[in-house]
Amino acid sequence: MNNIALGRYLPLDSIVHKMDPRYKLVAMLVLMVAIFFPSGYIGYAIIGSFVLFSLLLAKLNIKMILRAMKPMLFMLVFLTFVNTLVLRTGYVLIDLFGFKVYSDAIFQTLYITIRLLLMIMVTTILTASTKPLDLTLAIEDLFSPLKRFGFPAHEIAMMISIALRFIPTLIDETNRIMKAQASRGVDLKEGTFKEKIMAILSLIVPLFVSSFQRAEELADAMEARGYIPSAKRTRYKQLKHTMKDWVMMFCVICVLGSVIWISL
């Protein structure tokens, strides 16, 4: 359970951590758009250097990102395999006993790999440098203009933040129940099919029971404190933008601009 590095907030002290989450969220979207432009290697070099720079600024470790890429390794290998079989354009790069591997196959694969890597890096920077709750505040703020048309921005943000809040709790709970059942002889690795089904049941049922119970308790606690979703409320935490947010926004837009310009 410890290898869920992807998408986890890392409490570090960096300039990126202190930026306004709204700006970070928008910047991420802009960068995503930029990544999807077919701007070739020059474009990716520009985006890549910007992203790497932000990674350094956020004091994040590139090793961590690579570790997060690991589950995708299989997919990439498969992609390489299919590409070498299917793509038969460009010049011959390797001649393996009459089986020709073409340059386009390799470049195409490389291209997709870089694209994936960039996307993961961008999202990781956002989630690692922004507390989940700040992120939902940002979502709420960004959607609040839609409130006028009856869009439940606050409710959705509240739902997301409660869901996010309980992910670590659920992981802890799962770990604990797994250990408790292991003490009662549950073995998820060995055993017959029927035993395995029982093992999974012994994990899922308590998890559901406690989740429902927790949800009910939370709802009661919120109601007891007078929570009404539609009520007008003030916020303890005010999102503030400063110079650095504008600078970042400017840089991101420059990146997008140059990528568009290259791909024209």
Binding site: P11, A180, P206
Partner: protein, 285 residues
């Protein structure tokens, strides 16, 4: 075969920013066939320590010897199931592990996992339920809609029914009513005296330590700071004062009587001696 910790370190989430060293160089030998209490403030690593006993956690460094097994991180720890059959662990808040349709089935779950026959498992489970004070009327009820204290009893019965040689209980009496807690502790004493089970109890209740346990291990910030016989711990030396935990009621009574001018020996260990001493003091006046 003994139960021993040798230079055991345990780190949660190693090599991440969340790394936390929960056990630091623990050297500890637990006596067999005795009741050992493990006490210490919240977060001192008691639960982490006891989870090593049935290999739910394996030391990051060092070795745990338990019964005829040896557990350390630099070897494949295989066949943990047979170890878990002999070392039963009841978790802190075990009421969250119940899942079967009926209480009897839930208690039988452990024994069946350890390949007891259906009949044997049923027999053992009924005995275990009786021991924890739940009668036949509970057998067919759902374990999900009984009270918290009753759930706790069912969970404890679920481990007792496995009939382990070593019984480890993480705060088994937290949240039980005083009478229930007392009978639970008396059950453990009986299991120890009658069936020679080795029992480890994590607890915050110093009265339980004084009244029911043979040895006591005190933990603080991931380290074992003392390991003594209960009588030595309370009545010899001053370790008990140094650890900043509430004294058992009996000792508090002696303390306050002394403050009020009674000439009592603060190291009176036995209730009868205490009563006699008080009587003597009163008749003097």
């Amino acid at each position: 075969m003994p139960i021993a910790f040798e230079k055991v370190n345990y780190i949660y989430a190693p090599k991440t920013p969340f790394q936390y060293e929960a056990l630091k160089c623990i050297d500890l030998a637990i006596e067999l066939n005795k009741i050992t209490a493990i006490i210490g403030p919240t977060g001192s690593g008691k639960s982490t320590l006891v989870q090593h006993l049935n290999a739910l956690l394996v030391p990051t460094d060092g070795t745990v010897y338990i019964l005829d097994r040896e557990l350390s991180s630099n070897q494949k720890n295989k066949d943990l199931k047979s170890l878990r059959q002999r070392v039963g662990l009841v978790f802190q808040f075990p009421e969250y592990q119940l899942f079967e349709e009926t209480i009897l089935k839930d208690v039988m779950f452990g024994p069946l996992n350890f390949k007891m026959t259906e009949e044997d498992a049923r027999q053992k489970s009924m005995t275990a339920l009786t021991m924890v004070g739940l009668d036949e009327s509970f057998y067919e009820r759902s374990p999900l809609d009984i009270s918290g204290g009753q759930k706790r009893r069912v969970a404890i019965a679920g481990i007792l029914a496995i009939n382990p040689d070593v019984l480890v209980l993480d705060e088994p009496t937290a949240g039980l009513d005083p009478q229930g807690a007392k009978s639970m502790m008396e059950l453990f004493v009986e299991l120890n005296r009658k069936y020679k089970k080795t029992i480890l109890i994590v607890t915050h209740d110093m009265d339980h330590v004084l009244n029911y346990c043979d040895n006591v291990v005190v933990m603080k910030k991931g380290e074992v700071i003392t390991h003594q016989q209960v009588n030595d711990f309370f009545f010899k030396g001053d370790t008990v004062k140094e650890i900043e935990m509430a004294l058992p009621q009996r000792l508090r009574v002696v303390e306050s009587l002394r403050e009020k001018g009674f000439k009592l020996d603060s190291k009176i260990s036995n209730l009868k001696d205490l009563a006699n001493a008080i009587k003597k003091e009163i008749s003097h006046e």
